[in-house]
């Protein structure tokens, strides 16, 4: 069977499983639609949370980012796992005891205010739509890379599949499909990593293999550090970011993770408070299985790339001798080569091989077009090569290679010469990662519209059946908008994701924490805190990301990606001060706070 047929088989096969599961566990009440009836076991919920959390970006892009940024990217690894410690210790058990459907529900009830609820709904919608457009784009990219269809067609197929199981199944359908998706994902990610580690070090586990020695007798990381510094890059295991900035970026990602609505809502689906604690622990274990593999995949991938491109004697490899995968991904536009020194050999070092925005290559003519290929060494013709200058003190030659970071996961099985079915598996895994996150986000959007906006704010008199219908319609509309955003992605996706984390961190996290741990917190404090956090974070990110603010002007040297943590601190301070100048919350609210602190008598989620 050809690779393409295998890939189709794996992808279509996995889709059929997801839809079958959704049909078998379809929701028939709002309770099932919103929180799966509250009867999910902690283990299943842990898996579903892990699949919900790990997006196309975690699956495809993170290893590549770590591969090229080394230690500087460890903020992502610590931030995206450490946030679960906060969730498990500070949020999940109490929100479960509170027993509502959504995050705005908690904010609105605890602060006895529909203003607070609407502010929360706006934040939820903003964060979720930001995220989901990236996921839709992700499904399109996976389709286009593995199955040679147009990105837009891929987005539409993704929309159709998510439509079927999210709209039909609600949270119940999503939960059980996410369990299946987690299994597909983790298998697809770790199998190539195990093979890769074994072939390079003889170790079985990537986690220990990263500290092992290579066949030349050198430890992996020492070898990699020596390789990259010789080529003019920063050392792999040491940072080049300022300590302050690392600190705040990690903090923003951590607290932001704990404040993301689609993650929090997963803990409403288990029956008891202790199940919420246990399932947070399971979720972190399942997430860690993938995240702890990433540094190894990243390091081995970088070594392989450098040694393949620069050859054993570090003078470059003749283009004709480059392996097949290099040419394949060159055709897909993820790798490009421009022969700066015209020696017919590929050379990879520090610096940009191409000019222009993001230093991506701009091709002339189609990939298959033989005429469009420069006949000089048959390289693909690009129109924006850089000057090719370099400092001979720092590196032996100019960089001639552009590499898209996504390559590290996508091409790994090919670089390691693994069988075709492993490559097909990666496609199914990447698809599972994108779809599971998209579905979780869709549900949060639909719920906050139908429950928080319609039922709780605008038309309280609608029946359960009508509310369910509204939720389904809202999900449909959300899919259409997400699909549109996926096909026409805003230019600034990466910047907007920073914004989503910053907002979750600066708005939700403090409001929820104080709602649980500080009984005296009243609605005035909470609302003014949220607004201050939101506005400062939005302004800071907008100024430095969209309005051309300079790096020298960063406050305390904190980048826009890290500002959410500062916004959070401001939120806490303002909320504390304001709450002390205004009356304490009413008695029945204080009783609620007392009540959520004790596990016994957890009802199922109610209105």
């Amino acid at each position: 069977m050809s690779l393409e047929q295998l890939t189709y088989m794996f992808v279509v096969g996995s889709f059929c499983i997801y839809i079958a599961i959704a049909f078998w566990s379809r929701a028939s009440s709002t309770q099932e639609f919103y929180v799966a009836g509250g009867g999910v076991t902690p283990l299943a919920n842990g898996m579903a949370t892990a699949a919900d959390w790990m997006s196309a970006a975690s699956f495809i892009s993170l290893a590549g980012i770590v591969s090229f940024a080394g230690y500087d990217a460890s903020g992502f690894i610590m931030g995206w796992t450490g946030g679960y410690v906060l969730l498990a210790l500070l949020l999940a058990p109490y929100l479960r005891k509170f027993g509502k459907f959504t995050v705005p529900d908690f904010v609105g009830d605890r602060y006895y205010s529909s203003v607070a609820r609407v502010v929360a709904v706006v934040c939820v919608l903003f964060i979720s739509f930001t995220y989901i457009s990236g996921q839709m784009r992700g499904t399109g990219i996976v389709f286009s890379r593995f199955l040679q269809v147009e990105i837009d067609t891929g987005v539409m197929i993704g929309m159709a599949v998510v439509f079927v199981y999210a709209v039909l199944g609600g949270m119940k359908g999503i939960t059980y499909t996410q369990v299946a998706q987690y299994c597909v994902m983790i298998f697809a990610f770790t199998v190539p990593a195990l093979f890769l580690t074994f072939s390079m070090t003889g170790h079985l586990l990537p986690q220990t293999g990263l500290g092992a020695t290579l066949s030349n007798g050198q430890p992996v990381l020492d070898h990699l550090d020596a390789l990259v510094t010789e080529l003019g890059f920063a050392s792999f295991t040491e940072g080049s970011k300022s300590k302050m900035d690392m600190f705040f970026i990690t903090a923003s990602l951590m607290f932001g993770t704990a404040g993301l609505p689609h993650v929090i809502v997963r803990f409403f689906t288990v029956p008891r408070v202790r199940d919420a604690r246990i399932s947070a622990a399971w979720a972190l274990v399942f997430i860690s299985l993938l995240y702890s593999t990433i540094p190894a995949v990243a390091a081995f991938g970088r070594i392989n790339l450098i040694e393949t491109v620069n050859g054993a004697d570090n003078t470059g490899t003749p283009y004709e001798e480059m392996p097949q995968w290099f040419k394949k991904w060159e055709n897909a536009g993820l790798i490009a080569w421009y022969d700066h020194n015209a020696d017919g050999r590929t050379q990879y070092a520090a610096g940009d091989a191409f000019t222009g925005r993001q230093h991506k290559p701009i091709y002339w003519g189609a990939a298959e077009d033989k005429v469009a290929r420069n006949f000089y060494f048959n390289q693909r013709h690009v129109v924006n090569p850089s000057s090719g200058e370099f400092d001979p003190q720092v590196q032996p030659f100019a960089n001639e290679i552009y590499v898209d970071p996504d390559i590290m996961v996508l091409a790994n099985p090919e670089i390691a010469e693994l069988p075709d079915w492993v490559i097909a598996l990666i496609a199914a895994g990447a698809m599972a990662a994108a779809l599971s996150t998209a579905a979780g986000l869709l549900l949060v959007i639909a719920t906050s519209v139908s429950h928080d906006l319609i039922k709780k704010t605008i038309r309280p008199q609608i029946t359960d059946k009508q509310e369910l219908l509204v939720a389904r319609v809202a999900a449909m509309v959300a899919i259409l908008i997400a699909g549109y955003l996926g096909m026409n992605p805003p230019d600034y996706v990466a910047a907007v994701v920073a914004l989503a984390f910053g907002l979750a961190c600066a708005s939700f996290f403090p409001a929820i924490i104080m709602g649980i741990f500080y009984q005296r917190m009243n609605k005035y404090g909470a609302i003014s805190g949220m607004l201050v956090g939101l506005i400062t974070t939005i302004c800071y990110i907008a100024y430095f990301k969209f309005m051309g603010g300079e790096q020298e002007d960063w406050l305390l040297g904190v980048s826009p990606e890290g500002f959410g943590a500062l916004g959070m601190v401001l939120n806490f301070i303002v909320a504390y001060l304001v709450s002390h100048l205004t009356p304490e919350p009413p008695k029945h609210i204080q009783n609620i706070v007392q009540n959520i602190r004790v596990p016994r008598n957890t009802g199922s989620a109610y209105y």
Partner: protein, 86 residues
Amino acid sequence: MKQDINKAEQYWHRNLQIIFSYLVVWFVVSFGFGIIFVEELNQFNIFGFKLGYWFANQGSILVFCLLTVAYAIRMGRLDSEFDVHE
């Protein structure tokens, strides 16, 4: 009734103590070892890793997992002790 309130307060107090001690560990392994003292720890090399780098990329994840698992077990026991389990 009075006794119940006292008990609930004691339970909450114990819970806060546990949370605080776990969060200290959480902070030390990630922000402490992984970021603030990373250069100092990188002087040590253990099993082929620079120690600071290891904490930032592997060690912190491992400790996070242990923390959440331990917290779930610890709180399960505390719930039974105070007879507030479900």
